[in-house]
């Protein structure tokens, strides 16, 4: 479970997040929505330990997610809006390297990477360097990289923004499977269909949670 208590975050003199109190439960998919600049990405960053909150605390099962370096805890996987892939690596290698970093042998890592790419219908792109791929393809590779490690926390920032409806459904199904397996899954999205598929929804505005809403409880 990720708990944010009284979280505030300022960047460049601007208040990005203010007084955020929210809990992301394991086994549930939570949606964050809001207009651009509302603070969704920053909230995910604080929750995942990428940035240090200027006020309040963010914890994962009671431990602060901020580890003092900017590196996320090993149990956290991200899908970034800008993908955050390694341009020089192939699609398979980008996925595989996340597994290798967690101690999986290279051979097994590659096999699992192929399976993850296949699950998103991009298995044929495994050998292509990611700088040769289109936006939608990049997004699917980034999702595959996050899914393949089966992290306890999966934070996805606009994971379906460049996908067609069919693929979007496929992605949401895979995220649901992660949640069903006990992971904390948080999805920031503008897409009402995506929000609809989540168990909880937290709209945001100007760095604050507007009103928490839970479904399927």
């Amino acid at each position: 479970m990720i708990q944010l208590s009284g979280v505030g975050y300022e960047a460049g003199g601007n208040v990005v997040l203010a007084d955020v109190d929210v809990r992301f439960e394991a086994g549930r998919m939570t949606a964050l929505s809001g207009s651009s600049g509302s603070g969704k990405t920053s909230l995910l960053s604080v929750a995942g330990g990428l940035v240090e909150p200027t006020a309040g605390t963010a914890t994962l099962d009671g431990e602060p997610t901020w580890r003092g370096t900017g590196d996320p805890p090993p149990d956290v996987a991200f899908v970034l809006q800008v993908y955050g892939l390694v341009p020089v690596l192939s699609a398979r290698e980008n996925v595989s390297v996340a597994l290798r970093a967690r101690g999986t042998t290279p051979v097994e890592a590659d096999e699992r990477a192929d399976a993850a790419l296949a699950a998103l219908h991009v298995a044929d792109l495994g050998d292509r360097q990611v700088e040769e791929l289109s936006g939608g393809q990049l997004q699917r590779v980034a999702i595959a990289r996050a899914l393949v490690v089966h992290a306890r926390v999966l934070l996805a920032d606009e994971p379906t923004s460049e996908l067609d409806a069919t693929t979007r459904g496929r992605v949401m199904a895979l995220l649901r499977a992660e949640a069903d397996a006990g992971a904390v899954v948080v999805v920031a999205s503008h897409d009402p269909d995506v929000i609809e598929l989540c168990d909880a929804h937290h709209p945001m505005s100007e760095g604050r949670l507007v009103r928490p809403r839970h479904r399927a409880d």
Partner: protein, 741 residues
């Protein structure tokens, strides 16, 4: 206006493109100016070919920065003219400004080098013409690079700053074309090598060979590494190895590696040629010089020079008498004589290791009888029988180069007679014996020397006869007496014995057998003791003989013979003073450049400029896009941190990347550089060496290879280090949240 706006927005990229054009044009202008009015301007062709792979690097870097801007112009539906201006305007402006700066810099450089390199005051139009060609090549190459931007899918150009087209058929076509070009270059290189001192026959096409080999080597290296990556990845190597290899073969890096290896190979080839020209000059000058110190004795004959060295240096520690006749072109008529008993001591070190080092052959060259100087104040003759008057005349060469005679008149009943000699107090050389009537001489002495102890032979043809005929030699000493008469003059056998010689340049001997000019004129039978590619004093065409052997019986030094004394560098001052007293002016060897004039120096200078130009272009390649690549490196580190790749693994990847780059570029440059040196440079049209000069070969100097290869590797590693420096420290994964720039 667009150019000015671009200059403000893309200053770094434009500056680098302009600097590349400037370096290219400046090197071409100075290089062509250095070849001189009679040189080969095409020497700079490798730089022009190198431009084809170097100029695209900063051009593409600029184009990448301007992709979105150009895409917007396309979105607005600009016509072809406006689109061309938008795509190519800034690049063309940068190239033109750079070319102008390069031309000015080249002019200034040529002006600065005019005095030390002895360049003509007015270089003529050639440097400008070739500078214009270089600027045009840069311009067209830049335009081609810009065109790639205009061909990108519009949607991609607008939204994907980092998008790169996958390598496709073009790569294969380039590879095949390079393979064919390399085959043509190697074939043409084998077709013609520089002649022995004559005009080279390799053809100007071969001049481009080093650049072709360099580009091909860079392409092969990149292709090979790319082929290696999947195998390494499948082999399950560590993440660091995978990352390092992937970075090395990344699209961005490939063009740089290809260009820097090409530049390294061109530099190695040019430096090899420059070194060959410089080394040749040194070797040729050493052949001319003969020894560390050379003293010409204008008014002295060879015998006197020999005696002078024996007087000044009785133990043979510093001085060696020499003479040579290089007044004719035919190898068999160009001849040098050295007092070879002193060769090892005087010239051994000076010529050691050169083709002209004759140290091992001195003993065989001294196998024939040598001149035996004698002294005395009277000639004594004793005959068998005394029935009628006879006058016996002894001819001898005095130490002042005069031919003198001493006649002993024996009256009827006189068996022994004596004649005073006043011109032989120091040394004389007996050259002949005649009598006015048949007589059997039973004793013959000059001073204390028994002249019958030496062998005598019929003089046959007299000295001074036509060159090319040889004397008939018959031993006339029988039973300790000599039979002679008016029709049978005698000469010391040493004067007519075949003289051993070393040859160079394959002389054409007469049908009667080998014969060489005598030092006193005429000719002398010879035996060839060996053939060399070069000999001291005469160079690559001529004959070398022992001076004391040649002086035996020689009555004079012919006018074409130059008489010398060669001396060691450590010859005492008082010994040199003795040579000065004899009319000599000691000249110390100051190196080939100081001793020789001619087109070789222009060749060396031009090749050096090409090497420096290639090096500069290679360095500029790695500066292109440094800021953008630095940002990309940070984002890459951030992405790796995001998925949990630990710091030590990432640092190991950085080190491995540098190591792979260094090793690969070093090996490719050294390999292709060696190939260029032994094939292309060996057949490259170096300047004609001149008659009787040893050919200007291309020896592969290990230090040149090492310098070029290490320089290339250092440039490659520096380029990577500049990009990676600090990337790991400033790579918080949160940076990935910012929009790509």
């Amino acid at each position: 206006m667009r150019v000015l706006r671009a200059a403000r927005a893309y200053g770094g990229a434009l500056t680098l493109l302009a600097a590349t054009a400037a370096a290219l044009v400046a090197a071409v202008v100075v290089g062509v100016a250095a070849t001189g009015p009679d040189g080969r301007p095409a020497t700079v062709v490798p730089l022009l070919l190198l431009a084809l792979v170097v100029v695209p690097v900063p051009t593409v870097e600029l184009a990448r920065r301007r992709r979105a801007e150009v895409a917007l112009v396309r979105v607005r539906g600009a016509g072809p003219g406006r689109l061309l201006g938008a795509v190519a305007g800034p690049a063309v402006g940068a190239v033109l400004v750079g070319a102008a700066a390069g031309a000015a810099g080249g002019l200034a450089g040529a002006s600065l080098l005019r005095e030390p390199w002895d360049l003509p005051a007015a270089p003529g139009s050639s440097p400008w013409v070739w500078g214009g060609v270089a600027a045009t090549v840069a311009l067209l190459t830049a335009l081609a690079g810009c065109a790639a931007v205009a061909r990108e899918p519009l949607a991609t150009a607008l939204v994907r700053p980092g998008w790169r087209r996958a390598p496709g058929v073009a790569d294969v076509v380039v590879g095949v074309a390079l393979l064919v070009a390399v085959a043509v270059v190697v074939q043409r290189s084998r077709g013609g090598a520089p002649g022995d001192g004559g005009a080279p026959t390799g053809g100007d096409l071969v001049l481009a060979g080093s650049a072709v080999l360099g580009v091909a080597a860079g392409h092969a290296l990149v292709t090979g590494l790319r082929a290696l990556v999947p195998a390494v990845a499948a082999d399950g190597r560590s993440t660091a190895v995978l990352l390092a290899l992937r970075r090395v073969v990344a699209g961005d890096q490939r063009a740089r590696t290809r260009a820097v290896v090409a530049a390294g190979v061109v530099a190695v080839a040019a430096l090899t040629a420059a070194t060959a020209a410089g080394g040749w000059a040194d070797r040729a000058a050493r052949l001319d010089q003969g020894g560390p110190v050379r003293v010409a004795l204008a008014d002295t004959d060879a015998l006197s020079a020999l005696l002078l060295t024996r007087d000044l240096d009785p133990e043979g520690r510093w001085l060696m008498a020499a003479a040579f006749d290089a007044s004719r072109d035919e190898p068999e008529l160009r001849i040098a004589w050295l007092d070879l008993a002193r060769y090892d001591r005087v010239s051994g070190d000076f010529l050691a290791g050169s083709a002209a080092d004759v140290g091992p052959e001195t003993d065989s060259l001294r196998a024939a009888p040598a001149v035996a100087p004698v002294t005395g104040d009277a000639v004594t003759v004793t005959r068998a029988g005394a029935d009628r008057p006879v006058t016996v005349t002894l001819s001898f060469l005095t130490d002042d180069a005069g031919l003198d005679t001493a006649s002993v008149a024996l009256g009827a009943g006189e068996a022994t007679g004596t004649a005073e000699v006043s011109t032989c107090p120091r040394a004389c050389v007996v050259v002949g014996l005649t009598a006015t009537a048949p007589v059997e001489v039973t004793a013959l002495g000059l001073g204390a020397t028994d002249l019958l102890a030496a062998a005598w032979t019929s003089a046959g043809t007299t000295a001074g006869s036509t060159t090319g005929t040889s004397r008939r030699t018959t031993d006339q000493t029988t039973g300790g007496s000599l039979a002679l008469g008016p029709a049978a003059p005698l000469a010391p056998s040493a004067a007519t014995t075949a003289i051993p010689v070393l040859t160079a340049g394959r002389p054409s001997w007469p049908d009667a057998g080998p014969a060489v000019p005598g030092i006193g004129g005429g000719s002398r039978p010879a035996t060839a003791a060996g053939d060399r590619t070069a000999l001291p004093l005469v160079g690559a065409a001529g004959v070398l003989a022992d001076l004391p052997t040649a002086l035996a019986g020689a009555v004079d030094s012919v006018s074409g013979v130059q008489v010398l004394v060669l001396a060691r560098a450590d010859t005492p001052a008082d010994v040199l003073a003795g040579l000065r007293d004899a009319g000599g002016d000691p000249v110390t060897f100051g190196g080939g450049e100081a001793a020789l004039e001619g087109p070789w120096a222009a060749e060396r200078h031009a090749r050096s400029v090409v090497a420096v130009g290639a090096g500069a272009l290679g360095l500029l390649v790695f500066l292109a896009g440094r800021r953008r690549r630095g940002l990309a490196a940070r984002r890459e580190h951030a992405a790796l941190r995001l998925v949990g790749v630990p710091g030590p693994e990432r640092r190991r990847a950085d080190v491995l990347e540098a190591a792979v780059l260094a090793g690969a570029t070093l090996a490719a440059t050294a390999g292709a550089g060696y190939l260029a040196a032994v094939t292309v440079v060996a057949a490259t049209p170096l300047v004609p060496a001149g008659p009787a000069r040893p050919p200007i070969g291309s020896t592969v100097e290990p230090w040149v290879l090492l310098l070029g290869a290490v320089g290339t590797a250092v440039a490659a590693v520096l380029g990577a280090a500049l990009v990676r420096a600090g990337a790991a420290r400033r790579s918080d994964p949160a940076r990935l949240l910012e929009e790509e720039s």
